[in-house]
């Protein structure tokens, strides 16, 4: 009996893993179809420069989205990421430009502030018992944006040393550093979410917070970690943005939270929490970047691109709904 269960366990293990892959396969198939269609419509699309361009363009959203994924996995949301990006980068800019802070220290401060603002989001949620992260992070979104405007007197700060520009504009060979950063970050988060207790707790808290608490999980601590990491990832995205445009500005990252949410949802994560993978999110982010790039190549205006992105969000989730329904029927 033991042997049988064990063998079956192993066999099914593999089978289910394939099935798990398939659950983000919808998004992956979408991405592939999109790429094929665009490569037929525009000969420039498959050129190596263009592909690297997409890799670069998707980087900021990918970095922010992986933080957003954590929040959504716990059944929450982080609306403050765009503002956190702005505040953490302008503080770095002021310290480096006006107070001649060492740029490496500046980067560390930038990341530290992002993480700290995220930590405050977590504290507001767990210690002040605000009823939903929508509220705590909505508050933070406005507070951080306002502070960014105040301390910069609403003007951009530009011209940074090479070290700060590195993540946003450097290349290794033909590959943008920003994209390499995304790959490294995603591998780390994949390991974190699947192979560490804290990562598994994030899924458990999202799947059923009360059962998680009664299983001896420190739910509050997990939520604080999640929002701290989300803030940190917003700052990392900010660092890439500053490097790319060689400027920090208080209105940076406006609306980025919505792109990040879209990437997570297109990537198959459940808005109810407990379900989602980093690879799904990465594919979601790539779909958005490919779509924007392709429509640009085809000369579609920015306004219509926005309409297209909206349609993709609704379409992607609807396909997911249909898939789940079909799955439930076959049972």
């Amino acid at each position: 009996m033991l042997a049988k269960t064990e063998i079956q366990g192993k066999i099914e293990n593999k089978k289910i893993n394939v099935k798990n892959l398939l659950s983000s396969a919808g998004a992956l198939a979408g991405l592939i179809v999109l790429c094929i269609a665009l490569s037929i419509m525009s000969p420039y699309f498959l050129k190596i420069e263009n592909i690297m361009n997409i890799a670069r363009q998707s980087a900021i959203n990918s970095l922010i989205a992986v933080g957003m994924l954590l929040a959504i996995l716990t059944g929450g949301i982080d609306l403050s990421v765009g503002s956190v990006l702005a505040l953490s980068t302008v503080i770095m800019a002021i310290l480096v430009k006006n107070f001649s802070l060492n740029p490496i220290l500046g980067i560390i401060v930038c990341l530290g502030i992002g993480a700290f603002l995220g930590f405050l989001n977590g504290i507001m949620l767990t210690k002040l018992h605000l009823p939903h992260p929508f509220i705590s992070t909505l508050g933070m979104m406005n507070i951080a944006r306002g502070l960014a405007l105040i301390i910069t007197k609403a003007t951009p700060i530009s011209g940074f040393p090479k070290s700060i520009q590195y993540f946003g504009s450097a290349f290794i060979g033909i590959i943008p550093v920003s994209f390499l950063l995304v790959i490294v970050v995603y591998i780390i988060y994949h390991i974190f979410l699947t192979k560490t207790p804290t990562g598994r707790y994030i899924y458990a808290v999202g799947g059923n917070p009360e059962a998680a608490r009664l299983s001896g999980i420190n739910v509050e601590k997990i939520l604080i970690i999640v929002y701290t990491l989300s803030g940190l990832m917003a700052a990392v995205g900010g660092l890439v943005l500053v490097g790319r445009v060689n400027a920090a500005y208080p209105l940076a990252g406006l609306g980025y939270e919505l792109d990040a949410i879209a990437a997570v949802i297109i990537g198959g994560a459940s808005f109810m929490g407990g379900i989602g993978t980093v690879w799904g999110t990465l594919i979601g982010s790539m779909i958005m970047a490919v779509l924007r790039n392709g429509l640009n190549l085809l000369g579609v205006s920015a306004e219509w691109q926005t309409v297209a992105i909206g349609a993709v969000i609704v379409g992607a989730v609807y396909i997911d709904v249909l898939r789940r329904r079909a799955e439930a029927k076959t049972k």
Binding site: E12, N13, T196, R200, L214, S215, G216
Partner: protein
């Protein structure tokens, strides 16, 4: 006076993954009768009712209403056919008024306006009239959440009457009612009978069946056993049909030797909930906690487990005083709480067996920083085998398991954590009879291996069948303590109702 039945359910079958919930069940309901539906948890009563009300779809069988076969595919169909149910958890909007609740979805509109708005005056009058018919004097503009549970139930009945239902199902209607409220409910049931309304009355409480029902149908293990006139039967006969097996077969209690003290509670108090609770539980012993629903038993064990706060009192674990402030503290002292509501409090339903079993002990599987999945799988497979959890794979999603197997997954989680004190709250609620015996055998195994088991149960036979010692809780206080040999149904009930 044989008459055509109002409702005839014929050869109804229904299966869920791993369980045959109903096996070709027949059920007949006459006009104006109160028909008791009796059976243990997992006998199939709820499934039968859910098929009738459109919540589930039958696999096989026919439903014949007033001589015509009907097809009930969703709750709306059932309502349109005049079939309505009142469940234990009432279905009211807490912040809306009584009148609004009664007419929710069927609002009374003013007809002479171009834009038809809700006619509040008429809504309230109608609500008042219906409530009066039930002999209830409830202000229709009152918000429902400020009414007592008994009155809320009356609002629900009024709501159903306003839809012109002629078959009403009451599912354990007295579970949360005081004896006075119960009396009131029975009066209303007699009123409904007079109007020619037929009632299906589900209850565990045999006394009630004899007080209020004309006929009774007994179910067991998904089968209909028999339908009897209540005047031609008695309690013992009904119990025999319900249980269908001797007490020894149902409760496979083994003899064990009491070991050292495991858990001692002194004067534990949470104001308004429970007071001065003191008891001791030992290794190698099953301590039963009996009492009525709402007596405070669940609250006491939740407090011991650190899930709810306490005002004062001391908790000793293996002789050492412990300050348990959260489930984490309790868990680290070796205490496990297997809650009564496993779906909402015990399991991550959307996750698989492996992750559920290892959830509390993930830290033990950490090698440096990463989890050792091979060891986790091996341990899970070992526990799946030990507890006989029926699944083809450790990766099966817990939601797809039967109730009994889900319960075993919860137990496996705490075995994996190497807990020493197991607190079971209604361990066999909603699981089928075979699985119950398996759960009892797991308890036997635990105490044999020197663990301490504390079991809350509302089922007296279960308490008496499995406990070595029994404490009884009434209104937040311990009102009795009995050894297995001294205990009988009567003295436990007396303590549970505060008579002694």
């Amino acid at each position: 006076m044989e008459q055509q039945p109002v409702l005839l359910m014929k050869n109804i079958s229904k299966s869920f993954p791993g369980v045959k919930a109903l096996n070709s069940v027949d059920f007949e309901l006459r006009k104006g009768e109160v028909h008791g539906l009796l059976g243990e948890n997992g006998a199939g009563k709820s499934t039968l009712i859910k098929i009738l009300t459109g919540a589930y779809q039958k696999d096989e069988g026919q439903i014949i209403l007033n001589g015509k076969e009907v097809n009930i595919t969703n709750p709306r169909d059932a309502i349109n056919l005049g079939i309505a149910a009142i469940y234990q958890e009432l279905n009211l909007q807490p912040f809306l008024s009584v009148a609004e609740n009664i007419f929710l979805g069927r609002e009374i509109k003013s007809t002479n306006n171009i834009i038809s708005l809700i006619n509040w005056k008429k809504t309230k009058e109608e609500a008042k009239r219906i409530l009066k018919e039930l002999g209830q004097d409830i202000d229709p503009s009152y918000p429902v959440n400020r009414l007592g549970i008994g009155q809320q139930q009356m609002v629900e009945i009024a709501k159903i009457l306003s839809t012109n239902a002629n078959i009403i199902i009451l599912d354990e209607p007295t579970a949360c009612l005081s004896s006075k409220e119960t009396e009131e409910l029975f009066k209303v049931i007699l009123e409904l009978k007079k109007k020619g309304i037929s009632i299906i009355y589900i209850s565990h409480r045999l006394e009630e069946i004899f007080t209020i029902c004309d006929r009774v149908t007994v179910m067991r293990d998904g089968n209909k056993i028999i339908t009897l006139d209540t005047k031609n039967t008695n309690k013992d006969e009904l119990i025999k049909y319900m249980v269908g097996r001797t007490l020894e077969q149902q409760y496979p209690k083994i003899k064990t030797i009491r070991g050292r003290e495991a858990l001692r509670v002194e004067n534990l108090t949470r104001k308004g909930v429970f007071e001065n609770i003191s008891f001791t539980a030992y290794c190698g012993e099953i301590l039963g906690i009996s009492g009525l629903v709402g007596a405070g038993r669940t609250e006491i064990v939740r407090a011991i487990f650190g899930a709810d706060p306490v005002d004062y009192g001391k908790i000793y674990v293996f002789g050492e005083e412990c300050n348990i402030k959260s489930p984490i503290d309790a868990m680290n002292k070796g205490i496990a709480l297997i809650t009564e509501d496993r779906k909402n409090q015990g399991l991550i339903l959307i996750d698989n067996i492996l992750n559920n079993i290892t959830l509390s002990s993930l830290v033990d599987f950490k090698r440096k920083i990463l989890l050792d999945y091979k060891e986790m799988t091996d341990k899970s497979v070992e526990l799946i085998k030990k507890l006989n959890i029926k699944t083809p794979t450790v990766k099966k999603v817990v939601r797809e398991l039967s109730g009994g197997n889900q319960q075993k997954v919860v137990i496996a989680k705490w075995l994996c954590k190497k807990a020493k004190i197991f607190i079971f709250d209604e361990p066999t609620r909603g699981i089928d009879v075979g699985a119950k015996v398996e759960v009892y055998n797991i308890m036997n195994e635990l105490v044999k291996e020197g663990a301490c088991v504390i079991m809350i149960s509302s089922e007296l036979p279960e308490i008496m069948g499995m406990s070595d010692r029994i404490i009884v809780v009434h209104e937040g206080k311990i009102t009795g303590e009995f050894l297995r040999e001294e205990a009988n149904q009567e003295i436990i009930m007396k303590a549970a109702t505060g008579v002694i």
